[in-house]
């Protein structure tokens, strides 16, 4: 495992390009684009204000930099560094900005979620979408980039609109049976839309692409409900994590629960490997969920424990066998974990200066080298799974992993306990 030198970074804004060739990072109001292999600076752009958000376009040709305070979005091109584009929302303000899947439209959410402006980089046309819902996950695109689902709220009722991304035509508009919609997400196959309610009510609704309600699921009443939702890469399973500390897996045929995973304080099964960094026992609650990529083959699903505060343990479940596979207990709360895009390998960071890697073969932790303490606050994998970027408050460092064989041998050598 090799670590690159540290580079300056601000606001944890560091992203790999979708094609895996470039790495974009922000330092205050400057955008730095580096080559992934050599880490040489290829481009350097200067924005008008401190950047709050950057995003690559899907074809890796453009990067947008959003400055919410000024209400500005600036778009930069990699092919033509002289090209520039500035979108000023003016008095409307800006709270969120994102690309459309074709990489030629920018969706700006104005302040107070008054409207969404769709700016086109191809034509002079501008579209407005009224009454978007102010929630965590109000916009979602299908994986193939054809459709966009948007959560709306009119007259104290929730609606979902489905747009065709090619011409921004409204395809379907239907109301949802939710009290206060918190999130929507397309299934990877683009045919089912999951819509879930706020945590005050446990309700998750599944709609077909044409707006029909396929199924509604509610595990219990009264107690706090859903915290997070994740689709499996094959669209066969939907994992729903809730405040009662359990993950429920729904299957795509009947949309009923096939199993639920608890997160007990003690584990009795000797087959489960528990990697402990400390003696502390995990707490109740449930945090984030994620499925590994499909290349890994219907493998494990990790979920982390949390109450309303911070998690300490990561639980890895085997979906093929529907049982707990491993538990990783850390000393400090887990900040982020992310699956390797190519194989079932999990990278975890806890805010300390160590990076933790887990794979079914074993577990290891690495100290990030550098003068002083490099507190890893966040991480993101490279597309190929060979490297990842470790982000701290002021710096970013790239970690190059060896090939699979050597990593697994390294894992075995180091063993489980750190």
């Amino acid at each position: 495992m090799n670590f690159s030198e540290v580079f300056k970074l601000s606001s944890l804004l560091c992203k790999f390009s979708p094609d895996g060739k470039y790495l974009a990072s922000c330092v205050q109001y400057r955008l730095v684009v580096r080559d992934v292999n050599t880490l040489q600076i290829l481009q350097l752009y200067t924005c008008l204000d401190q950047i709050q958000h950057i995003e690559w376009s899907a074809d890796s040709l453009f990067i947008l930099c959003a400055m919410y305070k000024r209400g500005l979005v600036q778009v930069w091109s990699l092919e033509q560094p002289e090209w520039h584009c500035k979108i000023d929302e003016g008095s409307a303000g800006l709270v969120a900005s994102c690309w459309s899947p074709d990489g030629r439209h920018i969706l700006n959410t104005t302040e107070f979620h008054l409207r969404i402006t769709v700016w086109s980089l191809c034509t002079k046309s501008v579209s407005y979408i009224k009454y978007p819902k102010a929630c965590l996950q109000g916009i979602t695109f299908t994986r193939d980039g054809r459709y966009m689902a948007l959560a709306e709220r009119r007259d104290c009722k929730d609606y979902v609109s489905i747009f065709v991304c090619s011409d921004w035509q409204l395809l379907r508009h239907f109301d949802t049976d939710t009290q206060d919609l918190t999130g929507i997400e397309w299934a990877p196959n683009g045919c089912v839309l999951a819509v879930w309610d706020s945590c005050l009510e446990y309700k998750i609704l599944l709609y077909s692409l044409d707006g029909r309600l396929l199924s509604a699921y509610s595990a219990y009443e009264w107690s706090l409900g859903i915290k997070c939702v994740a689709w499996s890469p094959s669209s066969q399973f939907l994992a729903v994590g809730s405040y009662d500390g359990k993950v429920r897996i729904l299957n795509h045929v009947t949309w009923k629960m096939i199993t639920e995973f608890g997160h007990p304080a003690t584990i009795n099964n000797p087959k489960i490997v528990v990697y402990k960094e400390a003696e502390k026992s995990p707490q109740l609650g449930l945090g984030c969920l994620s499925f590994p990529p499909p290349g890994a083959g219907a493998g494990p699903l990790p979920s982390s424990e949390s109450k309303y505060n911070i998690p300490n343990a990561v639980w890895v479940w085997d979906i093929q066998k529907l049982r707990l596979f491993a538990v990783l207990e850390q000393l400090s709360p887990v900040r982020t974990f992310q699956w390797d895009p190519q194989q079932p390998r999990l990278a975890i960071c806890t805010g300390g200066s160590r990076l933790y890697l887990w794979s079914p073969a074993g577990c290891m932790s690495v100290q990030v080298p550098g003068e002083g303490d490099f507190a890893v606050l966040s991480l993101c994998w490279h597309l190929s799974g060979d490297s990842m970027a470790l982000l701290s408050k002021d710096h970013v460092c790239l970690c190059f992993l060896e090939t699979e064989a050597s990593v697994s041998t390294a894992c075995r050598q180091l063993g489980g306990h750190t």
């Binding site: 074809d59 453009f62 209400g71 091109s77 002289e82 090209w83 520039h84 584009c85 500035k86 979108i87 000023d88 929302e89 003016g90 008095s91 409307a92 303000g93 074709d102 990489g103 030629r104 302040e111 107070f112 700016w119 980089l121 191809c122 034509t123 002079k124 501008v126 102010a134 054809r146 459709y147 065709v164 011409d167 035509q169 395809l171 196959n189 683009g190 045919c191 945590c199 005050l200 077909s208 692409l209 044409d210 009264w222 107690s223 706090l224 045929v253």
Partner: protein
Amino acid sequence: MGDWMTVTDRGLSSESKTISQYTSEIKMSPSSLYSQQVLCSSIPLSKNVHSFFSAFCTEDNIEQSISYLDQELTTFGFPSLYEESKGKETKRELNIVAVLNCMNELLVLQRKNLLAQENVETQNLKLGSDMDHLQSCYSKLKEQLETSRREMIGLQERDRQLQCKNRNLHQLLKNEKDEVQKLQNIIASRATQYNHDMKRKEREYNKLKERLHQLVMNKKDKKIAMDILNYVGRADGKRGSWRTGKTEARNEDEMYKILLNDYEYRQKQILMENAELKKVLQQMKKEMISLLSPQKKKPRERVDDSTGTVISDVEEDAGELSRESMWDLSCETVREQLTNSIRKQWRILKSHVEKLDNQVSKVHLEGFNDEDVISRQDHEQETEKLELEIQQCKEMIKTQQQLLQQQLATACDDDTTSLLRDCYLLEEKERLKEEWSLFKEQKKNFERERRSFTEAAIRLGLERKAFEEERASWLKQQFLNMTTFDHQNSENVKLFSAFSGSSDRDNLIVHSRQPQKKPHNVSNGSPVCMSKLTKSLPASPSTSDFCQTRSCVSEHSSINVLNMTPEEIKPNQVGGECTNQKWSVASRPGSQEGVCNVQIIQLC
């Protein structure tokens, strides 16, 4: 209280009195025995009294006894028995009055004493009865105490149970309270969430107000615009299109297409899975049937039902097999049939396994030997026997090997070893020698035969040549004769008839025409050949020889004479030339050849 018996017999009055007293004493209650005993001791025995009476005063010692009595009485306070003395030394006269008085006094005293005694006795008895009474009271009280103690224990027990119940109820109460608490917590958390949301909303509201205020105040409005250097081409390179109704329809179509594709894909997957599962089920069913069907041969009562069903299932199967193609259809009846038959088979299998289990356990317990079920003991015995046998065999083999080794590797003197070796090999040597001799003989024979064959072949060649010459000359003659027709006509006819007639004559004629023909060496080859010719045609010597040799040759040249074809004949012992010539002979036209041909062919 005893009963007093009064006996009036004076003779034994005192005795009888005492006796009666004693008897009365005996009849008294045992509790008052003590009191009676006291009484007994106070009253001296009758006999003693009697003797005492007689012993005290006799004829001799009247004076002494009187004086003694007087003394005693005076000491007791009675008046003296003597009269008042006149002088000191004069004998005192017994005062009879005094004596009688004293006696009376004594009697009175005695009566008083008796009364007192009676009273004491009655009192004693009373006391005794009182004691009895008290004792009974005491026992009763003890019993009461016992019962009351038991009651107390019972009450304590009840008290304990009630306390237990109380505790349980407390626990329930606690649980209910906990639940209430939990619900309250839920409500509280919801309340906090609500508050949180409300605060958020309020903050936003405030921001809105501020912004509105700002906007109202702010005269210069920032223009909402996009400043772009140049427009970028579309991602897919195509031109943008207008939004029309057609595009809407197109979008709808596309959407439905996508949905349909997804459904079709899923349905395909499910169908595949279904087909696989059905196959597996079918296989399982077949295997189950095959497992259960061997039972048909064993005539057992228990199995009768199952065999019946198995047979019926097999029949059913036969019917089903013909409908194999129907499995692909997921129609209700086929599915049901399949599942039902699987269930049936499974039930049969289960019952069978259970029966087997029962049998095993039965055998284990009772130890009786069923026909087909071998008890474990027998099985073990058998295995032991077999093991022993194996051991024995192994030992035998070992010993034999040892002996063999010994034999082979004995360190005897060289002669014997060589002799031994020789004697082992002697037989083989002799056999070899025999074979050698045989081989040599055969070789000789072969050589001889070969020589004869070559000779025969040469002869054959010569003969043929001669024959050819003869033929040529004959033809010439014929030709010549034809010119002189009349002369030769008859000869010709003869000739022809000769040739077309019996072969014997032909041959003779042939013979005659070949004066220069070499004398035949009637080499018959090996005697073997002769025997073979018994089947042959009635051939002339020459041709017969010819044929003979030919057949011999053919015999020796190949195994299957009959299978020989002209091409296959290998000129091994006979010159190739000869064979060719033979055949060429056979192929030549002419009746002669034709006859010969026939002969040859027939032989071949």
